[in-house]
Amino acid sequence: MAPSGDATFHAVQRRLAALLPANNWLASARPLELASLGAQDAPRLIAAAVLEGGVLRSHRITGAPVPRFAAFLDGTQSSRAVAHADEVPIVHGVAACVVRRRVARRMHTWRSPLVERRIYAPLAMLSPPWRNALASADIPVVDTLAARTLEFPHPFALQDAAVHAVQEDREALERELAEAWCQAGHGEGEGELLVDGSISGSDAVAMAPGVVGVIKSHRTLYAEGDALRTVLRLGRGERSSVFRITSSKRTPVASWYLRLREPAGHAPLWGLVRVEVADLPSATPAELASRADEVSRWVLAEALPLAVPDARWDTMVYGIRDCEEFLRAIQ
């Protein structure tokens, strides 16, 4: 149910305070994302099937970078505890997503951004007055334990559950907007879309030839042994061989690692991104290599301007930072 009134943090807190006057309300809660340490965030290595040749190796990208992307898609999320109901966090979460289109080198918003504000709480652990109050607060409420179980009712575990629920909502918004972009007829050659993160969550997006996913975080690395060393030793403007990423819950995509910036003097993952494109089963290795080189040139073209002052500027392209700044501005 969409809220009829103001669904911002303080508005919701005011409404709940009117319903439950005796409780202590948090005045300025920190975003829970800063403290969340989810189990799936643990680093891991996964071997992937190499599509370009038999062994994963490095390839120098030849030719000048080509600014090809017409638009950038990114989502943001923010979760803050409104109150603690008998030690159970009641979390106000905001998930948002936008496509920013590039016209004459300047960024403009495509259609309308998607923004959802909800309350996230383990309803089963709440007292009836709290459940009643949340039901009357004129804001959608998400039960964070509806699809998951907790080993222990640790306060951090409850917070993580809320954060992950917000994350799922944010990913859903990103999928929705990316699919809308694809349905709008932005095919290959008409305006490629750079998505921040994986594109494998949606069949329509993962199979769209004009959509490219760029992954900045590497908690999961799709290489082991020599392949891993090859990836970590990529130089600036070099990519790895193309490999396929498969998952039972996701659509297979073709992927490769690409070093955007000179790594000397930095950590091995500095300036390293993973690129995802549609996995076309009929493509020959040569076609895959050609496609990877082409898309890599597009991504390398986005290395400028720097996405500073964002701390992830080594891997973040400026268009994605623009999306995040835009979403920050409208929330």
Partner: protein, 649 residues
Amino acid sequence: MTEPVWGRVVATERKPNTAHEFHFWTSVDSPIGIGTIVRVDAETPVSGQLPRVFGVVVEGFSYTDLQTPIHDVLGHDGTPGGASLAATQRTEIRLYTAHVLRQIPEEPLQPVPMGAVVLASDADVAVALRMDAYLQPGAHTGIPVGLYRAGVMEAPIYLDADFLLGPEAAHLNITGVSGLATKTSAVEWLLASIFAHFPQQKGSVAAVCFNVKGPDLLFLDHAGEIGDADRAMYARLGVAPEPFQNVQYFAPYTAKGFTLNTLRSNDQLSHNLTPLTWGLNEVMQFAEVLLNRDDVDAKADALIDFLQERVINREFRDPVLSSPHRVRSFGELEAFFRDLLRGLEERGGEGWRTHHVATIRKVRNRLSNISTRCAGLVTDEGTVSDLPFGSFQDRAVYVVDVASVEEDAQDLIFARVVSKLREHLERRDLGVSHVVVFVDELNKYAPGDGPDTYVRKMLLDISERGRYLGLVLFSAQQFRSQVHRRVVGNSGTSLFGRMDMDELATPGYAVLSAATRTKLATLEKGQLMVRHPHFAQPVFVRFPRPAVLRGRDGAERYPQAGEITLDVAVMRSLRKLDPAVSLDWVKRVIEGHEEADVLRARNATVQARPERVQSHFESQFRRIVPAEPAARPVAVPIKSLPGDDPYGF
């Protein structure tokens, strides 16, 4: 048609909006800049009315999301040319600060609300600058000063005649560097605008301009070249692009006395050029102008007062004098002093009527010296040719050319003309009800420091009390900070052209923002910043080039007459009164006469303007008796012998 929204008001805790200042951002391609007048349409009604705020942009900021410049250097590998290779331009902001001109409703006075920012339209500009109060049909007292421009918007800016020419406020001061600030042009344009728009019901108006340098104001009656853009501005501002219709020029003679001391001495232009000569009567009242403290102590001052009250212009008798004296000219004054000192010497007296002989000698020396110091302006014989006090004409310009005159004479001319204007305006018999007096180089005449001269005191008096009389001072200078504060402070309207940065660094300009000061330092010709009592903040305007011949062009087209002989000078002077006067006739009449007598006769004729010019001129000369050999007198012995001297030979 909805107006394009060019910006939005923003406010942060660090940079909040107030009731007098607000901030807004615009797209990078907006036509808004320093000096632009904008309107803010609030989105939340106050007391049932959506507030509207008008402001003028005084400061602008531009920045991107870069934290430090070094990031940009790194991002382009230290190669500035690489900037164009970046696929995306950084998000960039144009953030402006505006000062509030007016809020509607005016109560309650609140901080400027958030809202859309649009360019002010014609009507908005009138409201923003409170011009709507004096642009009402039937009570229109607006005097166009120029066009305000922003993007495609263009709006006339009007000054209120009641606040420009009195009685509510008055006076105008214009500041700017020489050559680029268009001070003279601005005054010429504004006079044309006043003549075109000063309401009939407010009375009549004339202008007296002192030409203090070069040929600046000497061709106001000749058309100059103006372009189509200027013509369009004239049309928009409702002023005919034509020279002044009624201009009279005045200039003293050169020290030699043959020709008038002006660059406008070309024979073709003599029809409206009149000599400016004064005698003893005209000068004595302003002796203080020419005599400094060293010259005139209390004792000398007492003697001068005595002369003015008891001797000048009346028959004066005294036992010391050999005969009665009637002093009407410097020549007669000298004769009086000569007689007085001779009498004192004969009697061996040291004093006369409480005045010591040394004081008498000193005053004689100083007063007699005036006609020498101001030769060409002050005549020994007392000939007077003056401005037409009492018969000033509506919409006429009277230009007094003092550019080539000695400094003392300039001061005297300035002091006397302005004092006479004041006297006549007080008596309401000048001929017009308002007079604009234009004085350039105010630094010189009313400096902020230095001696308290007569001219400065007079300027102070005009600036403080002139508005009640209709005596309006239009003044100009290069450095406003060096002019007496009360003179510029009493100017209701101030114009600023291109300014010198050193001048802008003085405390008087601290009220202006850094951007406004920068704009002032880079103003183009034809642009002015205007401060007027109705305007809450200064505004920038453009004005058209004056439709008169520029001084420099006029001097080239009408070269100054060369040095001429006495007979030609007399012929030219008399021909203005009687075209039948010929050079041969003049030569014949003046033959054998002293140069001084010829000039006296010419001056007397010009002053009298008789019907029969030639006979009047001839009558000025004493008949010359032919020389006859003198009979040798019979030698007489020093001592004759007595007839009965028995020892004589």
